[in-house]
């Protein structure tokens, strides 16, 4: 083999490796975007943006969207969508607050809230699987039902209660517990993300979910219990929305039935920026978390730079569309 040939075959081998890395790591793009945007704002306002406090604040602000995005990732990889996330988060805060007001302890309140959210997810899944209505419509309906339930349960008012320590989940870490670095709620979210990532990537049920989203007919042909799996996916997503609601309550320390309106769109945006596709089969937990962080970084960064709220919104929208455009180009290039 001549040197030229060997160098060419080396370069094709390098290309193949790079390609394998890109295909095998769909979260790489979102991570790069996240770092780029972070560096941009760090360069623009190094005095305030780079502070440790700012970093912790941004992570704390991302947690609710992040946990919900983990659930949404599973749903969207399976080929569905869940619009009821925001309502379910609000309902969870209300359930916790209402239970504690009627004398429940924090453990009972949060167990009840998680149960309610899991059941709500189960209902979503059962409707999608049994009635064969598109998930968009089903969850559009349950979005309204859950919002109404939350308002009814709270008599259309915020419920103010003593959080009985649940607020500590998201509070800044006190000095004597400095080794924790981040609030326990953040660690919880990270643990959930790690579990979900392993589940989706390395467990057969996770692979079945990917297959179902990629081509439901093939999945069925190969003996994947498509209906049951659909129910399970929405139930898990509901449970994770409940967990997001718990963290939201911890931040707010009130049960607010009008909280998190439109949260589902932010969550979907995070998943989509993270490489998820509305047509299923694609997406990763890590990517969605990076997507969620990216949204927060843009918001915070714009505030630091002094840009108005409306500029942030325009910027966020542009980034979503650009991210999609890049993804299309990448797919076509393959």
């Amino acid at each position: 083999m001549t040197p030229a040939q060997s160098s060419r075959s080396e370069s094709t081998a390098r290309q193949a490796r790079l390609r394998a890395l890109l295909v095998g790591s769909p979260w790489l793009g979102p991570l790069i975007a996240l770092l780029a945007v972070y560096c941009l704002f760090a360069a623009l306002t190094p005095d305030t943006f780079l502070l440790g406090v700012n970093l912790v604040t941004m992570v704390r602000q991302t947690v609710v969207v992040g946990v919900a995005a983990v659930g949404m990732t599973l749903v969207m990889v399976a080929g569905g969508i869940d619009l009821s996330v925001g309502s379910l988060v609000a309902l969870t805060t209300v359930v916790i607050a209402a239970d504690m007001r009627s004398g429940g302890g924090p453990l009972r309140a949060l167990s009840l809230a998680l149960l309610v959210s899991a059941v709500a997810g189960l209902v979503n899944g059962a409707l999608v699987a049994s009635l064969r209505i598109t998930p968009f419509i089903v969850t559009l309906g349950t979005m309204s039902v859950l919002r109404g339930t939350a308002k009814g349960l709270a008599s259309e008012q915020k419920i103010d209660v003593d959080p009985h320590g649940l607020d500590q989940l998201m509070a800044f870490v006190p000095r004597e517990l400095g080794w924790m670095l981040l609030p326990p709620g953040v660690w919880m979210a990270l643990a959930v993300g790690a579990l979900a990532a392993v589940f989706l990537r390395y467990m057969y049920m996770g692979r079945h979910i990917v297959a179902m989203g990629s081509n439901p007919l093939t999945a069925r042909l190969c003996g994947v219990p498509v209906s049951r799996l659909t129910v399970a996916v929405y139930a898990i997503a509901g449970l994770l929305s409940g967990l997001a609601g718990l963290l939201e309550f911890s931040t707010l320390t009130v049960g607010d039935p009008t909280d998190s309106i439109g949260l589902e769109l932010e969550v979907i945006a995070a998943v989509v920026i993270g490489g998820g596709s509305l047509s299923g089969g694609q997406g990763s937990v890590a990517g969605s978390l990076f997507g969620a962080l990216l949204l927060t970084v843009i918001k915070t960064g714009c505030t630091h730079v002094g840009l108005a709220n409306w500029v942030q919104e325009i910027l966020t929208g542009v980034i979503i569309v650009v991210a999609m455009g890049l993804d299309r180009l990448r797919q076509r290039g393959r």
């Binding site: 193949a16 394998a20 295909v23 095998g24 390395y202 467990m203 057969y204 049920m205 692979r207 079945h208 990917v210 297959a211 990629s214 081509n215 007919l217 093939t218 999945a219 069925r220 042909l221 190969c222 003996g223 994947v224 219990p225 089969g281 694609q282």
Partner: protein, 501 residues
Amino acid sequence: MMTPMTERVRLQVRGVKKAFGPTAALRGIELDVRAGEVHAILGENGAGKSTLNKILAGALTPDAGTVLLDGEPFHPSDPHQAHRSGVAIVYQEPALCPHLTVAENVLLGAEPARWGFVRGAVARRKVEQALSEVVGSELVLPNEPLWNLSLGERQLVAIARALAQTDCRVLILDEPTSSLTAEHVERLFTVVRRLKQRGLAILYVSHFLEEVQAIADSYTVLRDGENVGSGVMAETNASELVGLMAGRRIELLFHRSPRTPGDLMLEVKDLAGEHKPVEASLELYSGEVLGVAGLVGSGRTELVRAIFGLDLIRSGKIRVGVFAGPASPMRRWAQGVGVLSEDRKGEGLAESLTLAENITLSKLRGLGPIGFVWPHRQMRAAQTWVERFGIVCRSVWQRAEELSGGNQQKLALARLLYHDVDVFLLDEPTRGIDVASRAQVYQHIDELASRGKAVLMVSSYLPELLGVCDRIAVMRRGRLGRARPVSELDEHAVLMEATQG
């Protein structure tokens, strides 16, 4: 001749050729159809009938050759233009809008309008005229939404549409009766005869010989993209037509290892599906290949799907070894039955997933502890079969969509072998793949049978059924005939059974 046949040749096709990549679909077709004549186009699956239709309807452009319509060159660039020139095609399942009414469908795209408003009175008159010409005294209400209509009625609406919109000169009916009941077939024939009186040239494409003999005045037989015979229908008979359709073919080499039929692996009794099959019974033994022949749309695929639990069944019994109970794909895999879908891209493979995932999807358990799937074990499992099947790829982590058709088919087949099933349900295992891959698939099937596996194989390609199978049963209009040893059969006999009954 009992029909008023004018001597004018309405449609002339001269030396039309069409190739798709390396495969020639039409190799120089000649055709003459007169006004007021029903001309049957006959041929086996894949003989080139559809391609010819599509060219006449403007959906495809020929590579070479000319078409003359009433002596004028006719080379439509798209279906719309063909339609406007007076050549209309009605497909087996007409492309109409189910949410619109009959009248709206009839006029869609050619509504008489002024300033953007449909001129109600004119529209109504046009629709009524067209409908009365087509359906005669029978009533199809113009304001009925189309979804209320049966398939047969929809076809009539499609014909009415062809008549209402243009000065229709040539009407192509593509397999018009394959999904119709006998009563609807009769009604369609009445309509066709009426249109013939009006001087239309009608191209009638069908597999069903008895039907063609009843309605057509003349015929052209296609085989492998060439016309191999044409003439007046009254001067020929079914046997002669089948002979022309089948012809003599280049002998394919089929390897046959010694096979010893053993236990009864699959028993189907009086099976009826939602629509098809109407009635099917079969017995499949280990160590044999049982072929299911029949025309496209006769219900062979539905039979396979019903056995595998992919389609609901209305009645009948299916027994796999010792298992009777209800069927679902999950249960069938667990019972040692695997299926190869005829629709490789739509159903057989998840094209956006990797080769490794596609091969192992039906059995991910066992590739790691308690519910885990270790990628390296998945890779090793897939690698084995990729090598054994000689699937050409860069790596098993490549997406399935990047493979060629032949390699995709081998990939889909590899799944069944990875799963290690005992009963193979193969629906069109060689569809759309090259000759070399075909030969490999035949070899794999032969090896399976000689190793004592049971294989049920559906195919539209008769030589391969005769070459590979031990017994063949013929499906006709949803009914499966008795399976007979290949030694008692030849292409002619199978075709007769499939087209005649």
